[in-house]
């Protein structure tokens, strides 16, 4: 054994982490973390400022200093399109929430509270559901139920000699239905913890004291879980309210507008120049309404915590025996899988093989070819794929870096303004992501000096992609950080380890499961992100989903289907990686999109 050391002796100290270079000291310390956390939040505030500014200045094209006006809001009030799109948006949101909650909630109940066999498979169906791009599903439904070309409608008209299509997807209810099918996965993931956490002894107490099953449900279970269910419904309505993909794929071609698509046609008009002032005014309305929904969400969430229904682990909820009804339940699940995944995929494959869309028939079979794949502008697809993959790597990496800094400040530091960090980092959820896209475009075009080449680059996409991911990342990391005993971190400081080294050597390894999960999840969401990209791309920074969207919008449905199949094939390794990582992990850790 070596010679005993003497306390307080400094003889063996060879280097001090402060080093000789002052820059190293700053990089090593808290100022760097504070800077890292503040950077995205400042940009969030700037972009929101830009949008509000645009809505009240006369003409943004001539710079910021133009005079104050409420003219854009007056135009807005006088525009009949706004009223019809407001009605459409509300109706669309309601149908979406009802669809998503009734499917997702029922599946969650089946999984958590019944003896349904094959629950693992249900998890797979529901989680993979979040990864299938909504635009992909929407396109499939158009091919299936379009009043003119829809396969189902054509069959029905031929079979029963009908003059017009019996069902149509090209209306607000149809759009809400498709959006709801897509969001059912999220409703499932958000409601299953509610069913799981409900203490079964509360139900047992009710049964023992003579209440029947429906009475227990009515007087005990529902009052207890109602706030949590309502909160989930509001959360989903925030997403639906500003959803772009489904209204764009289904509604735009049929002149059915929601707020999101109104903003789109105003900023990217087929003819004339974009009316930025008007876009700003619509955006402000959208911000206000979304902020109201988020405020409501928080109120309800607080209510749902009041009962403290969550009783910790260690008990097994009593499972309702399904008996023969099990087959009925699995048929329902199969139908959901068919409608949300299988049918759209089949439609897309079929559509990609035909010169123009038509139902299955011998004649159609004779026209099958790979022509769509050969006429595609592969240069464009290749550019889109390259840009998309760049984003898939950098978006999760950067958003995790910024998110970790923010969460650390919010949860761990004693900074006075840390609640501000928390509050601002939630804004990208409360404010629809397309607003940030629009703001970034305006910022790059009119506010940045013309010499700064930012508009039309992958960097501007990267910036907005990262910003809109910050809310999700910080919510999940806040929760994960709270799980880590604070003394583990204090122990590092007291033994001389600096902030960055502590973050890197102690906090990050402990958060690794959450970080990996978030990374892949964000990579997948960045891969399928259409909304933000559609508002910002040019020929140079085009992404794969926008290539699909562009072809679709241009009426080239077959080519669009072909590219989207390429897109889905490229998705497979990512999903596989995600799945491999998740094996054995609790599925409920899957963050909300």
């Amino acid at each position: 054994m070596v010679a005993p050391f003497v306390a307080g002796k400094d003889a063996t100290v060879v280097s001090s982490a402060t080093g000789h270079w002052p820059i190293v000291r700053h990089l090593n310390g808290r100022p760097f973390v504070f800077f890292l956390a503040a950077l995205p939040l400042v940009i969030v505030l700037i972009l929101l400022g830009v949008i509000i500014d645009v809505s009240v200045v006369d003409n943004i094209n001539s710079g910021l200093s133009t005079s104050f006006t409420l003219r854009h809001f007056k135009t807005l009030l006088g525009d009949p399109l706004i009223y019809s799109s407001l009605v459409n948006t509300v109706e669309f949101t309601v149908v979406t929430v009802i669809t998503a909650m009734s499917i997702g909630g029922s599946v969650a109940w089946l999984v958590e509270r019944t003896d349904l066999p094959g629950k693992r498979l249900v998890y797979v169906i529901m989680t993979v559901g979040l990864l299938v791009p909504t635009f992909f599903m929407a396109m499939g439904w158009v091919f299936f139920l379009h009043p003119r070309i829809g396969m189902f409608n054509r069959w029905m008209m031929d079979l029963f000699s009908l003059d017009s299509a019996p069902v149509s997807i090209a209306n607000v209810v149809g759009m809400g239905w498709v959006e709801g099918l897509g969001l059912a996965s999220m409703a499932f993931m958000m409601t299953s913890p509610i069913f799981k956490a409900l203490n079964p002894s509360l139900e047992e107490a009710s049964t023992v004291h003579g209440l029947r099953r429906w009475q227990t449900l009515r007087y005990v279970v529902l009052p207890l879980i109602w706030p949590a269910l309502l909160a989930t419904a509001i959360y989903i309505s925030v997403i639906a309210f500003a959803a772009f993909e489904v209204p764009a794929i289904i509604g735009l071609g049929n002149r059915i507008f929601t707020f999101a698509t109104v903003v789109y046609v105003k900023i990217a008009p087929d003819t004339g120049i974009p009316n930025y002032g008007f876009v700003g005014a619509v955006s402000v309305v959208l911000i206000v309404l979304s902020a109201f929904l988020s405020w409501w969400y928080f109120r309800v969430i607080r209510l749902s915590h009041r009962y403290g229904v969550i009783q910790g682990r260690g008990y097994r909820p009593k499972l309702v025996p399904l008996g023969n009804k099990m087959w009925l339940c699995w048929s329902g699940l199969g139908l959901y899988f068919l409608m949300s995944k299988l049918m759209p995929l089949t439609m897309m494959i079929w559509a990609s093989l035909l010169p123009y869309f038509q139902p299955f028939s011998v004649e159609a079979l004779s026209q099958i070819s790979l022509a769509n794949f050969t006429v595609i502008d592969w240069g464009l697809v290749w550019r889109g794929a390259r840009n998309t993959l760049t984003l898939v790597f950098w978006v999760p990496t950067l958003s995790l870096m910024f998110g970790l800094a923010i969460s650390w400040i919010v949860v761990r530091s004693n900074l006075r303004g840390r609640f501000l960090y928390d509050w601002i980092s939630f804004l990208p959820h409360a404010v629809p992501s397309l607003i940030f896209a629009v703001a970034a475009v305006i910022f790059a075009l009119f506010i940045l000096p013309k010499t700064v080449p930012f508009y039309g680059t992958v960097s501007i996409l990267l910036m907005v992609f990262v910003l809109v991911r910050i809310s999700l990342v910080t919510r999940v990391l806040n929760g994960a950080l709270l799980q880590i005993n604070r003394e583990l971190e204090d122990a590092a400081y007291v033994s001389g380890i600096r902030t960055l080294a502590t973050l890197w050597k102690v906090i990050v390894p402990l958060l690794l499961p959450a970080i990996l999960n978030l990374w892949i999840w964000n990579a997948l969401l960045s891969y399928r992100e259409l909304t933000v990209a559609a508002f910002m791309v040019t020929q140079d920074n085009i992404t794969l989903p926008v290539v699909v969207w562009g072809l679709w919008n241009g009426g080239l449905a077959g080519q669009s289907a072909a590219v989207s199949l390429v897109f889905v094939v490229l998705l497979i390794p990512l999903v596989a990686a995600y799945w491999a990582l998740r094996t054995g992990a609790d599925f409920q850790q899957t963050p909300r999109a």
Binding site: M1, A7, G8, E487
Partner: protein, 358 residues
């Protein structure tokens, strides 16, 4: 080694400010094992965390080995990582994603005071050998028991050769048997290394067993400071007396110097300069039980009304007078059934605790 002047610490609470430490003065000598003893909420942990730099005070000064590490007036705050400390936490705070070796090595390889690469291994293994954990070096720490984890934490804090070793209730998460074992280890290892220790606990037996000096704290103030024997035999207040061990209380009147009239009878004790109403405290250990009267001073009859078997000892409740019941620990001769028996309590005059009645 540690000098604290007029340290003030406040916490912002819902309706205003809570003053955890109004103004603390403290001096810890080099090599001393200094214990802060007090009930929960007395501010002892807050004081420790201020020395560690994990909490920031609102005023006053802290010197560590004559180096100013905090001053409210001069706006000095040395970050915890630059104070050169070691600390052992109540929750162990060993990093669960690392092995025993890695836990001890991390401060040496990534800390403020780094050690040459070729020296790290020797240092780590030596520190581990001090706590007999060297043969577990490659174990992941979650596989260890609580006592072993705490020993790893002790090794980690010693390996950095700290100016001062801080310990925040290191034994309170351990069960009774382990507590004694680790307590013994803490004492031998710290004495062997010669490190200055600032130790926080709410357990008086820990404080008495470990401390060279003890400061008893209550409501953010140091009530009394002294060696364990000083504190035990001459507690400054009834609160300190009770905190250091069980006390039987008697109300009385000073009849003349050294003589107190009580409901039990006339008691001889050092009344110092007290007059009038007093409070008289007698520790169970100062009472000797006699089966028959011996006629000695301070001997009073009583009736055993309850007995509780504690194993090595027996605890008796003895009625000395109307409304006066003493608790006494009895040894061997009093084992057995004694209910309702009369005994005589002899009380050591020199060990009586006398305070002015309030």
């Amino acid at each position: 080694m540690i000098r604290i002047n007029q340290l003030r610490k406040e916490f912002a609470v819902k309706d205003g400010v809570f003053t955890a430490l109004p103004s603390i003065d403290l001096n810890v000598e080099k090599g001393e094992f200094f214990v802060l003893l007090g009930p929960s909420g007395s501010g002892k942990s807050t004081l420790l965390r201020c020395v560690a730099g994990i909490d920031t005070p609102q005023g006053g000064e802290i010197y560590l080995a004559d180096r100013l590490i905090y001053s409210g007036a001069k706006n000095v705050f040395v970050r915890p990582e630059d104070r050169g400390l070691g600390m052992v936490f109540q929750s162990y705070a060993v990093w669960p994603h690392m092995t025993v070796y890695q836990n001890v090595a991390l401060p040496l390889t990534h800390g403020a005071k780094r050690v040459p690469k070729d020296k790290v291994r020797d240092r780590v293994m030596y520190a581990l050998s001090l706590v007999q954990m060297d043969r577990y070096a490659d174990r992941p720490v979650p596989h260890l028991s609580g006592g072993q984890q705490q020993r790893v934490a002790l090794a980690r804090s010693l390996a950095v050769e700290p100016v001062v070793l801080l310990m925040d209730e290191p034994l309170s998460n351990l069960d009774a048997r382990l507590r004694e074992e680790v307590r013994h280890q803490i004492l031998t290892v710290t004495k062997m290394v010669g490190v200055t220790v600032l130790y926080v606990t709410h357990d008086q037996s820990e404080a008495l067993a470990l401390g060279d000096k003890i400061a008893v704290m209550d409501a953010g103030r140091i009530i009394q400071l002294g060696t364990p024997t000083q504190l035990f035999s001459m507690p400054a207040t009834p609160m300190v007396a009770e905190f250091l061990g069980q006390v039987n209380w008697l109300k009385g009147q000073v009849a003349s110097a050294g003589v107190i009239d009580t409901p039990v009878g006339r008691v001889l004790a050092d009344t110092r300069d007290l007059t009038g109403g007093v409070q008289l405290g007698i520790r169970p250990s100062s009472i000797e039980l006699m089966p028959v009267a011996t006629g000695a001073a301070n001997e009073f009859p009583g009736e055993i009304i309850e007995e509780i078997f504690l194993g090595e000892q027996i605890q008796l409740r003895i009625r000395m007078a109307e409304d006066v019941v003493f608790e006494v620990r009895a040894q061997k001769p009093f084992r057995g059934r004694h209910h309702a028996k009369n005994v005589f309590c002899q009380m050591e005059a020199a060990e009586m605790l006398v305070y002015a009645a309030h």
